[in-house]
């Protein structure tokens, strides 16, 4: 069966009423899971939701109209952000060989 989490291998027909030890899990796996997602949300905020604010020709930056400069800026920053997310995931997963995120 296909499911996001490796621990439970069946699609339950009854509600998953018991999820053992989810409250007792440490802060580290939480950080590992949510900090990269937060970082991944940044390009969406900048390139979609902030778009109406950046919709202007002036000021011209590096010869580009501001809107085009703004878009290119976040395109160049996106790999850096993803790399950061990758590092955080990898570090948090400790001795994992990185094959199983």
């Amino acid at each position: 069966m296909i499911t996001g989490s490796a621990s439970s291998s069946s699609f339950s027909t009854r509600g998953p009423s018991c999820q053992p030890s989810s409250s007792s899990s440490t802060l580290l796996p939480m950080t590992r899971r949510f900090l990269p997602l937060l970082i991944g949300a940044v390009p969406f905020v900048m390139l979609v939701f902030a778009l109406p604010l950046a919709n202007r020709v002036e000021p011209i930056v590096l010869g580009l109209p501001f809107i085009l400069f703004w878009i290119m800026l976040w395109i160049v920053l996106a790999p850096a952000l993803l790399f950061l997310a990758y590092k955080i995931e990898k570090q948090a997963s400790g001795s994992d060989d990185g094959e199983d995120f």
Binding site: I2, N55, I75, A78, F101
Partner: protein, 477 residues
């Protein structure tokens, strides 16, 4: 034949041989033919993905919209970048599902996750229907290339027929591995062509990129901000379109299936990190489109702007090189699209749904027949219903993005059910059809496909929650 068309013909022939040579060395079974035996490394996968992602659409369509519409074309830069960000978080789970269940195709995923062959067949049919305008786009691009390169001597319909006979043979002889090697050739040629043209033309005519933009701002002040030279593509349209297409990017049956051919989920994550850099050439394509608007205004078909400017600016042999790059750029994705659509119909619709006892040999034979049928269909559409290249791609996205709720919820939300996904998918497709056929795209400034996607997701979640609460009531009673 003139210099330019000869160069194009020779390049197509060369890529054709390269595809055959790459395909000869390995013996094919269905798995080999479609996912390359799950053995591709980082560089090959990256090139394979790039080979699918950067198509005639990027080459001619982006310049065409920069020329005719202006700022709304910037959605192209935005959506692919966001798609890579999304893929970083989404694709490893898709890959893992593919590996542990030996999935070949996108409908396989739906069949496995939701236990419904009917849903799988429906996904396959919607996928193929969405691929057709994409194929049509590649064909129209080829037609424009050969027409411009021959100075109008060779009619585009002849060129389309000739190129697609070659593409069909190419698909038969080599499958995905052959396509991957030609993708290497294609990427190198395309990057050289775009870099030379994109960096040179603003200098040649205006003395720099900044000066070109200054001239454009002076002549057409509104062209560079939304809604550009359109009336109905304001910021909201760009935002909704960017979101729609970013979510749909990996929902194409062929890109979805290409994830399965990666070596590991780490390979995929690393891919996602470096892919946004591939957007820089697209900026250069826009520069060509904008320069063309100033230098050769008034073209009836904006999609011809890139090549028309090249023909005006460069010697014939270079026009041939750019045309050849464009031709290979159309052929590689086409062969992948055809291969994928044929596999979907033969395996997921015919073998799994209509005739479960069909042997693998029969399925392979059927998919080879379908290669010709589908290509012929796209050819007919291209000749009789030409449209702007970007508009065709957006049409395909209206369809494939409707898979997104089923895929994402299916991976990360255990409770989502077959009936919920089916209801959502049908709602999404019905909404898209309704809005497009009544001429409501964009609808209140929002991309119609996005409206349908929201309806689709809402129905999927609502149905899941409804049945869940009913079950809970039933069990507590």
């Amino acid at each position: 034949m003139n210099v330019a068309t000869s160069i194009i013909a020779l390049t197509i022939l060369f890529s054709f041989l390269l595809g055959i040579l790459a395909g000869k060395r390995v013996k094919m079974n269905l798995e080999m033919w479609t996912v390359g035996g799950r053995r591709f490394g980082l560089i090959l996968v990256w090139l394979l993905m790039a080979g699918e992602i950067y198509t005639t659409f990027t080459f001619l369509g982006a310049a065409g919209w920069a020329y005719s519409k202006g700022a709304p074309a910037f959605y192209i830069l935005i959506y692919s970048t966001l798609a890579y960000v999304l893929s970083f978080f989404l694709l490893p789970a898709v890959w893992k599902a593919g590996k542990s269940h030996r999935l070949h195709t996108q409908p396989d995923f739906f069949v496995e996750r939701y236990g419904s062959r009917f849903l799988g067949a429906l996904v396959a049919l919607i996928g193929v229907a969405s691929i057709l305008p994409y194929l049509q786009l590649q064909l129209l691009g080829l037609g424009i290339i050969v027409k411009t390169a021959s100075g109008g001597q060779i009619p585009s319909s002849w060129a389309m027929v000739a190129c697609f006979v070659l593409t069909c043979i190419f698909v038969y002889t080599s499958g995905i591995r052959g396509t991957a090697w030609v993708a290497v050739l294609k990427d190198i040629m395309m990057i050289v062509a775009v870099a030379v043209v994109g960096l040179w033309v603003p200098y040649a005519y205006f003395g720099g990129i900044g000066k070109m933009f200054a001239a454009l701002v002076q002549q057409k002040p509104g062209h560079l901000v939304f809604p550009g030279s359109t009336t109905n593509m304001d910021a909201v349209w760009v935002m909704s379109t960017a979101l729609l297409t970013a979510m749909g990017f990996y929902m194409w049956p062929h890109t979805f299936a290409s994830v399965f051919s990666a070596r590991s989920s780490t390979t995929i994550k690393r891919n996602s990190i470096i892919m946004p850099f591939y957007q820089v050439p697209v900026l250069l394509v826009f520069l060509v489109g904008f320069t063309a608007l100033l230098v050769i205004p008034g073209l009836a078909n904006g999609d011809e702007a890139f090549l028309a400017l090249v023909a005006k600016t460069f010697p014939a042999w270079f026009l041939g090189f750019v045309g050849a790059a464009g031709a290979v750029t159309a052929m590689v994705p086409s062969s992948m699209l055809i291969l994928c659509a044929a596999t979907l119909l033969s395996k997921n619709v015919y073998q799994l749904t209509l005739n479960p006892s069909a042997s693998e040999t029969t399925v392979i034979r059927l998919s080879r027949v379908l290669v010709v049928v589908l290509t012929g269909l796209a050819l007919v559409f291209a000749i009789f219903f030409p449209k702007a290249l970007v508009a065709l791609l957006l049409l395909g996205y209206d369809g494939v993005t409707q898979f997104f709720p089923g895929v994402v919820l299916g991976l990360f939300w255990k409770r989502v059910s077959r009936s919920a996904v089916l209801a959502g998918l049908v709602t999404g497709m019905a909404l898209v059809a309704l809005l497009l056929l009544t001429g409501n795209d964009p609808w209140m400034g929002i991309n119609a496909g996005f409206v349908a996607l929201v309806g689709n997701a809402a129905v999927t979640v609502a149905v899941t929650l409804f049945f869940q609460s009913r079950e809970r009531n039933a069990s507590s009673a």
